[in-house]
Amino acid sequence: MRVVVASGKGGTGKTTVATSLVLALSEPTVSFMDCDVEAPNGHIFLDPAFDRRKEVGILIPEVDMSLCTHCGICAEVCQYNAIAVIGTKTLVFPELCHGCGSCTTACPEQAISERLDVMGVLEGGDSRTGVMFSRGLLDVGEPMAVPVIRELKKWPPPRVVVTEVRDAPPGASCPVVESMRGADFVLLVTEPTPFGLHDLKQVAQVVQELGLPAGVVVNRDGIGDDEVDAYCRERGLPILMRIPYDRKIGEGIARGLPLVDIVPAYWRRFRDLSKEIASRVAGGGP
């Protein structure tokens, strides 16, 4: 079972929920994947000992000028305008390349080879409680997060995975879509404020587009208004958990403690949440 924790709005508690869900399960067949490759922070709560590392990126074209006939087909097939063919020169702009490989495949002279352009690194190791932990880390200044997330998802885990929890990046754009792709369930963490609702709507649309079942966790419950509840009712999105607004929780998180350690009653609540998700995945309906 693959569960993605997403939110739209940043700072609603994705990592708080994702890490506590993993801790409540704490079995060697559980895997936590930090897909927020621009600012991963799951390690703060799960304390992994990294023992695996892999440089990742995209394959970008290299043109062998002795074979190139400057026919221009590579420039034509490139959807990102990363290649221009000017007279007897073929220019490649690596910063525009998405690594799709179309130019390499289309070149009639087989003049294009590919080389890895490193964009970031994957790191993995077991957490303090013995779950598999992995994360992607995008290099500073690198504009595209998706290739690193894609490689993170493909990275073979050290053991059999029964439950995978992915901590998604904030927002509702390509990195979030890539984090959700291939998942069985999306857990949407929001807060009952106009900001929380605005972004929840956006990310709920992405989930609908991908055809995935979803449920909502309302964090900082008690602040704001009732609009998130009304929206969830209207859209048939089940609210699976409410975490009240509590200064004690905020202080604990600020010290790097997982929610289940700040309020031990959450051990049970997160185990129940996991069962609820599993039954919804098995049931097949949203």
Binding site: V85, K89, E95, D117
Partner: protein, 139 residues
């Protein structure tokens, strides 16, 4: 080569006519007004890059070069558009963008040698982080 003697000038435009407004952007200009300076013949080229998700400068430059243009007048040239145009030997000029001008007025300024020639990109690219660009250059 015979073709080199024919002088073709492209002016970036926001409308389909040389009498319409000049567009100070190169990659995202909707049209290019092409003028053959020997025959006076004019045509308007649609810029295929106007809605490109990325690399508009590269694609726009490729399309004017493919039309045999030797001179481009716009308001600005980014690093990638500049690289493509320069490698084709295209000469670049910038027209003033502080007042509204038509394509025809810009062409007149070019004829009267009242435009500034550009020999380096006029601004940084829209895609790359400076540190990252330097790093890629090293590899």
């Amino acid at each position: 080569m015979l073709e080199e003697r024919k002088m073709k000038v492209a002016v970036s435009l926001s409308g389909r006519s040389m009498d319409g407004p000049f567009d100070a952007r190169f990659g995202r200009a909707a049209f290019f007004g092409l003028t053959d300076m020997d025959t006076g013949e004019q045509e308007v080229l649609e810029n295929p890059a106007v809605g490109a998700s990325s690399g508009a400068g590269v694609q726009a430059a490729q399309s004017v070069v493919d039309r045999g243009v030797q001179v481009v007048v716009s308001g600005a040239f980014g690093p990638k558009a500049h690289a493509v145009l320069a490698s084709a030997g295209v000469v670049m000029y910038v027209a003033p963008s502080d007042r509204p001008l038509t394509g025809t007025e810009v062409l007149k300024l070019y004829r009267e040698q009242g435009l500034e020639r550009v020999t380096a990109p006029t601004h940084a690219g829209h895609h790359d982080h400076p540190a990252r660009a330097a790093e890629r250059g090293r590899r």
